[in-house]
């Protein structure tokens, strides 16, 4: 299956553009819009995210404050925009970290097999055995929190699943005779991994990566909610939801707005993942 899947090239991709799945178009558009607004947040935001309007505390959404204000009179909409930067940067960084570690491990385990495989996979199994939150909390609780450290903690958590996916696709590819042909030429390890294997694993990794971004964004929010992630007064969605808890009866928009933003982001990225799966997998996409 993997080999057939891998037979898709950029040319196929272009040829298929007319028939892209709706999920990819919708999800992709939303994700693109999110990235653009996050990048331009400083200029789009109507107010500085930490500016307190003492007279306008607990304002429901209106023309001045599109998403209302919080208990300090800060504009929730501005905070949402700035917060999107944190969420997306966290999701992307964490995923990049886990890919940077997990993909080489998976490739080597699948290529070498035997003792190397056994050693790598058993260590990763140990990592999988930790409850995810516990592992991250362990890292964050003993040292002062920072965004990069949160990203690393979440990234480390996803190393094992990424490595497992990479390994299983690699194992599948290893039965391909082009690998044996390369061995018959006496190719070096780096050529085998980077030129023969990686380009063929890539489509599957793209799908996996989009799912990992979703997990990272969610987990980041959970950590902030619990107070281990980004610290106030930073505008993080998880933190905002956490802060708004006390006022859910009287000013639900404080928690609701970041909650909705979170949902949209997560759903959009998932849609992209589903769409990619459909485009890249001949079994689902129908060649």
């Amino acid at each position: 299956m993997a080999v057939r899947l891998a037979e898709l090239t950029a040319a196929d991709f272009i040829r298929r553009r007319r028939r892209l799945p709706a999920s990819l178009i919708v999800g992709g558009t939303i994700v693109a819009a999110l990235i653009v607004t996050a990048a331009l947040a400083q200029w789009i935001a109507p107010y500085p995210y930490d500016q307190m309007h003492v007279r306008d505390r607990f304002q429901p959404p209106n023309l001045h404050y599109l998403a209302g204000t919080d208990e300090y009179g800060r504009d929730v909409f501005s905070r949402l925009l700035i917060g999107s930067q944190l969420s997306l940067v966290l999701g992307a960084t964490a995923t990049l970290i886990s890919m940077a570690v997990g993909v080489p491990l998976g490739l080597i385990a699948g290529y070498r097999r035997g003792v190397t495989d056994e050693a790598i996979m058993r260590v990763l199994d140990v990592m999988l055995a930790f409850p995810p939150i516990m592992l991250v909390l362990l890292i964050l609780a003993v040292t002062p929190p920072s965004l990069l450290k949160t990203a690393i903690a979440i990234g480390v958590l996803a190393v094992a699943p990424i490595a497992r996916v990479t390994r299983s696709v690699t194992l599948d590819l290893m039965s391909g005779e082009f690998i044996e042909a390369a061995r018959a030429r006496g190719e070096h390890l780096h050529y085998m991994l980077l030129r023969e294997l990686l380009p063929n694993v890539w489509p599957v990794l793209m799908v996996e990566a989009s799912l990992r971004v979703v997990f990272a964004v969610l987990l980041g929010a959970v950590l902030s909610f619990l107070g281990f992630g980004v610290q106030p007064p930073a505008a993080d969605w998880g933190l905002m939801i956490s802060n708004g808890r006390a006022f859910v009866d009287t000013a639900p928009w404080i928690s609701l707005a970041p909650g909705i933003a979170m949902s949209i982001t997560v759903i959009a990225i998932s849609l992209v993942g589903d769409g990619l799966r459909e485009v890249l997998d001949p079994k689902v996409g129908g060649r």
């Binding site: 037979e7 035997g114 044996e180 018959a184 030429r185 006496g186 023969e196 380009p199």
Partner: protein, 698 residues
């Protein structure tokens, strides 16, 4: 007697103007165009064609297996009723009850989680409403009828315990469980070894004779068809091009395509070096439109402008023979290819290029820690090593001279591919040694292996995975040049063009990706990639097994041309003795990890034979092979001759207990057997290997 022109009886199955189209995204592909034929009760019709000709779609349409993207028009009258118009539920009721089906791959057709007997009983419970217990006992009887020993034991077994041939027997039993009058077989023997294929064909013809079952047989193999069917329909590019009595079509083919198909089959005889197979150039069009003229015209050597004027009608002769060619009556035989007489090189045993000595390979069990077993015996826990497997290659010695081709023949699983990989050091041997050009490869340090890798290359069987799907043809061919520093970067483009030219591909193909190539073209690229390093020795591991007959002929010819042009040595591995004979100077026959006979091609193909070679030859020559011991669940490994359990000439206990001695018949011909008098030497009922009668006639 023909099943086609039989006005007296109403045909069991009559197909009229069957057209099958698939909607594939936004384009339409026609799989079958205006197909009509009739099959009388008790008759047998074969539909023959290469992959993509639409033959399986016709079977699929009758069985309603084509899925929602297929659009089927025309009528299919079965027992006088048009089954195309039936409701899905009625149609399902008919399948299994009135029409049985057996497919190509016995290895995936059985449910691995259910006992074999249960799977044969299931249709009887479903369609005949029998109680399970009775159905199970009938299933056992059915297995016995299929020629299976210890049927009760086999019925209780799970599919993984059975060999491929036994599975196919069980599947035939399941298809016939409800005693349907029509049995549709889609390439039922393609996945099986020749000896097993011969057994299955014998079984099918016996069932036909005893039970009067009507057969619709789909195959790409003309030889198989001759042994089983009365009539044959030849399909090409979704059209029926010829239909008639099997002997008439196979001995006096009228349509150029039928002629070409028959001519491109390799004969079962040693070939001289200037011998080439007849081949059909070009490839089958995938979207042929009939308005463009004869679909075969672009590949036809008899082609003239008039052929392309319009679609060819199917003309019906008075005797019922149908041909889709306007000038069928005036055609001569298919043209043969000639090459200038090559010098038959004389090989001296002394200066071997490749020398294998007592080579053995035993695979360990995979899975590392998980394959160890823990037991608690007598209160003390014990850790058990994974059990040793039987050796895949066992004490094999031979040599290959520079410029010589050694053919290696054997059934699947006999260790022939493992042997090829040992020679290239893609696998490390468990014992013995491989010398290349006088150097013991196992003793070479890793970095000294590189010059060897340059000189010894490999071509694979699986055209689907032998090229990296992400590399263009140009990139794939440039890589060896860069790796071994053979060509300066600026000359590489030129060298790639030269390589493509060597394998007769247009230079423009450098920009293509593997999925844009046909199977034959991929194999050419794979050969070019092996040639890129300017090797002296190439292991060809079943290079033509996955290809259609006509493509197979062109690749065999190409390999022969390259052998002569560059003085290459090959280890040519194949399960097909005829293909091996076509290319090889010497032939080694392998069975269960051991070489049982080795000699010049002429020696091996002529008596006296090793008993196993004898069976292989008889199966390949489409004769009735010598009786083998009845099929049962394979026995355990033993210390004697590996072939003893199947040997028709078994002497007795000595065969089971003592390894056979090597008998050197001539300086170049060795047989490992206990028999003093080998089959056909004297005595022993002879099984003559006749020249292929089909070949003589074309």
């Amino acid at each position: 007697m023909s099943a086609l022109a039989s006005p007296s009886a109403e045909p069991l199955l009559e197909i009229r103007n069957l057209t099958i189209r698939y909607r594939e995204n936004d384009r339409q592909v026609t799989a079958a165009r205006d197909i009509s034929f009739a099959l009388r009760r008790g008759g047998s019709l074969a539909i023959v064609g290469e992959s993509g000709s639409g033959k399986s779609s016709v079977a699929g349409a009758i069985l309603d297996f084509l899925g929602p993207t297929a659009e089927v028009t025309g009528s299919m009258l079965f027992e006088g009723q048009d089954i195309a118009g039936l409701a899905p539920a009625q149609r399902r009721q008919m399948l299994g009850r009135r029409i049985g089906a057996v497919f190509q791959d016995p290895f995936t057709s059985l449910n691995p989680a259910l006992r074999v007997g249960r799977q044969i009983a299931e249709p009887m419970v479903q369609h005949l409403g029998l109680p399970l217990a009775e159905a199970l006992s009938r299933a056992e009887a059915a297995l016995q009828e299929m020629g299976i020993d210890r049927a009760a034991e086999v019925a209780r077994a799970f599919p993984h315990q059975l060999s491929g041939g036994m599975k196919q027997r069980a599947l035939i039993a399941a298809a016939l469980a409800c005693e349907p009058p029509l049995l549709i077989l889609d390439e039922p023997t393609t996945a099986l070894d020749v000896t097993v294929e011969a057994q299955i064909l014998r079984l099918l013809s016996r069932l036909r004779r005893d039970k009067g079952i009507t057969l619709l047989f789909i195959s790409h193999n003309l030889g198989v068809v001759r042994r089983l069917c009365d009539d044959v329909a030849v399909m090409y590019a979704s059209q029926l091009v010829e239909l008639g009595d099997v002997h008439r079509v196979l001995e006096l083919p009228a349509h150029p395509y039928s002629k070409g198909l028959l001519a491109s089959r390799p004969p079962l005889a040693a070939a001289s070096r200037n011998n080439r197979l007849a081949a059909i150039d070009g490839q089958m069009p995938t979207t042929a439109e009939p308005d463009a003229g004869c679909v075969f015209a672009p590949r036809c050597p008899f082609h003239e402008p008039r052929c392309s004027a319009g679609p060819q009608p199917l003309t019906i002769a008075p005797d019922g023979h149908q041909v889709r060619c306007w000038k069928a009556d005036e055609l001569g035989p298919w043209p043969r290819q000639q090459v200038a007489a090559a010098v038959q090189p004389a090989f001296r045993r002394g200066d071997a290029l490749v020398n294998a000595t007592q080579l053995s390979k035993t695979f360990g069990t995979r899975g590392g820690l998980t394959s160890w077993r823990l037991s608690v015996a007598g209160g003390r826990p014990q850790l058990h090593r994974p059990p040793k497997r039987a050796p895949a290659v066992n004490d094999v010695s031979f040599s290959i001279s520079p410029g010589e081709v050694l053919g290696l023949v054997g059934e699947s699983g006999c260790g022939k591919s493992t042997l090829g990989r040992l020679l290239l050091q893609l696998l490390r041997q468990s014992g013995g040694s491989v010398e290349f050009d006088g150097a013991d490869l196992a003793r070479l340090p890793a970095q000294a292996l590189s010059p060897f890798r340059k000189q010894a290359q490999i071509v694979f069987q699986n055209v689907g995975s032998s090229l990296n799907p992400r590399l263009s043809v140009g990139e794939a061919l440039e890589r060896p040049l860069a790796l071994f520093g053979l060509t300066k970067p600026r000359d590489r483009t030129q060298r790639v063009a030269a390589l493509l030219d060597m394998v007769r591909l247009p230079v423009a193909y450098r920009a293509r990706y593997p999925h844009q190539l046909s199977g034959g073209e991929r194999q050419r690229v794979a050969i070019a990639r092996a040639l890129a390093t300017e090797p002296r020795f190439i292991v060809c591991d079943e290079p033509v097994s996955a290809l259609d007959v006509s493509v197979q002929a062109t690749i065999v010819n190409l390999l022969a041309d390259l052998r002569d042009a560059f003085g290459l040595s090959y280890l040519f591995i194949s399960h097909d003795l005829a293909v091996v004979a076509q290319l090889s100077d010497r032939i080694a026959v392998m069975y269960r990890g051991r070489i049982c006979e080795i000699g010049t091609a002429a020696d091996v193909l002529a008596p006296p034979h090793h008993p196993y070679t004898e069976i292989l030859l008889a199966s390949a020559a489409e004769d009735e092979p010598a009786a083998e011991s009845a099929v049962g669940i394979a026995g355990a490994a033993h210390g004697g001759c590996v072939f003893a359990t199947r040997c028709p000439h078994k002497l007795g206990k000595i065969c089971d207990t003592t390894p056979p001695p090597l008998r050197t018949l001539t300086t170049s011909h060795t047989i490992a057997c206990h028999l003093d008098v080998l089959p056909h030497d004297v005595g022993a009922p002879p099984i003559p290997v006749r020249p292929d009668p089909l070949r003589a006639a074309i």
